[in-house]
Subunit: 292 residues, 2 copies
């Protein structure tokens, strides 16, 4: 199928580029190895693919988006490395492999994360064939999505919510920030590169916001119903850690209803954006039904 081929090819391209960016750095070997280890640990690459699928939706050249897609994945990867640290989630496994600090030690894991986060901004700043004003918007919005008003805020709220009985509003705050902002940014970045109209930007932003929540609800469901082998981490860890999740707040049936609702809304806004939406629509279905 053409859409699957598109995603497979772009994923390979992103992964090749990610490795190239790190390999070419003039930096201590261990640092490069630690950065590469987590970048090359696999994953769905959903954020870079969302950006490239958005460019595709506007029938634009994908090449100018590739550095931005890589920058997003660098920031996502840094967040995983830091989240897994002993003082944070204290996870030993990620995608079926030992976490970064288990292999390189805590200090190097912190520095590998710092390095990936910082380098992401250089990758965008140095990217060819992006108009200066667009580049600045891409950088400002990335910092906002990843920083203290975005992903970092979500991580703090998640940490502070541990062991507490959260409301649905509090749970949504966490997810809208911890995973939502960077998913939204991925679509926004594609739309900015494609010079979308304001109306398209608004519709695509609403699309990505619903998609982000759907993504998280599916995550919560998989933690209960998923296969350990496919997810690459322990199933049931949310329950074991006494974490508030969509199923724990809404029952499993309620969580599945909510998942369907957000996928439906995502598709509605996507249609309103009036773009060639085959790949983005396919990603929606993937998010709704994914098993890892």
């Amino acid at each position: 199928m053409l859409v699957e081929q598109f995603l497979r090819e772009q994923k390979q391209l992103v992964e090749k580029e990610l490795s190239r960016y790190i390999t070419m750095l003039h930096a201590p070997d261990t640092l490069k190895q630690a950065m590469l280890y987590s970048l090359e640990a696999g994953g769905k690459r959903i954020r870079p693919l969302l950006l490239l699928a958005t460019l595709h939706a506007f029938q634009k050249e994908l090449a100018p988006g590739l550095p931005v897609a890589c920058a997003i994945e660098m920031i996502h990867t840094y967040s995983l490395i830091h989240d897994d640290l002993p003082s944070m989630d204290n996870d030993d496994l990620r995608r079926g492999k030992p976490t970064n600090h288990k292999v390189f030690g805590e200090a190097m894991a912190i520095l590998a994360g710092d390095g990936l986060l910082t380098h992401a901004f250089q990758v965008i700043a140095d990217a060819p064939n992006i108009p200066p004003a667009t580049k600045i918007a891409l950088i400002a919005e990335l910092a906002k999505a990843a920083g203290p008003e975005g992903m970092v805020a979500g991580q703090v709220a998640d940490m502070e919510g541990e062991g507490k009985q959260l409301s649905l509003t509090a749970l949504e705050y966490i997810h809208r920030h911890k995973t939502g902002k960077m998913l939204q940014y991925s679509v926004l970045a594609g739309a900015l590169l494609a010079e979308a109209t304001d109306a398209q930007l608004a519709n695509l932003d609403a699309f990505a916001s619903h998609l982000g929540l759907a993504f998280q609800i599916r995550d919560d469901i998989l933690d209960i119903e998923g296969s350990e082998e496919k997810i690459g981490k322990n199933v049931g860890s949310d329950v074991a850690n006494d974490k508030v999740t969509y199923p724990s707040l809404l029952t499993m049936a309620g969580a599945k209803d909510k998942l369907r609702f957000h996928i439906h809304e995502a598709k509605r806004y996507l249609q309103a954006a009036n773009v060639q939406d085959d790949v983005l629509r396919y990603i929606c279905d993937l998010v709704a039904t994914r098993d890892h």
Copy 2:
């Protein structure tokens, strides 16, 4: 004295702005407090002052440089927070106060650092009255100075050098990266904002490079000869940690010779840049003679 007044006033301005940037964030309170705690812990603010003094040297308006000066200090502060962590230098005191993780816990300290690092890029991207091409250069060079080819590389090299007998070359690699790159960036950023000529950029870069090494040699000397009260941390910690320093490699007299050499070279390049150098020259003297 006018130069002292200039530095005092600009320092106050930078500190006020730094607090304002964090206070106005829509972010969890604890996160903002943790970020503010380390930003407001004092310090010489030598990096922001170098930037503003460079703008002054070109007799340019200082206002457009203020956000960039604040971004530099945010990144410097993040690096201190992460360096102090138990898995890194494991320091309990910084500038006479408990380190960030001692007050807010390790996880929040990591996130406060991540937040400051990320937000620094937003502050520059959003800064008013900077031409787009200059802004992009400022961001690219900042990421380079702070990232895996700059400050992070220096921290890794420092860590990997612990307990080893280093050569002068290896010691200089550490300092050129760990502290040097960000000091050089501070001058470069001022020069880019002031639209310096290529010759001026080269001379000011050499000036900042020598100033950076002088700064570090003075640091090593102070660790032996300094007053604990003035430095705000334990004196003799380098010796206690079996760290290679300029005095340990070159003898105290040799280190002082080297300090004089770098200050002399710094001033020589400064003169060659052909700018109004009263404040930058004064900072040189401060670095050479500072007692904290």
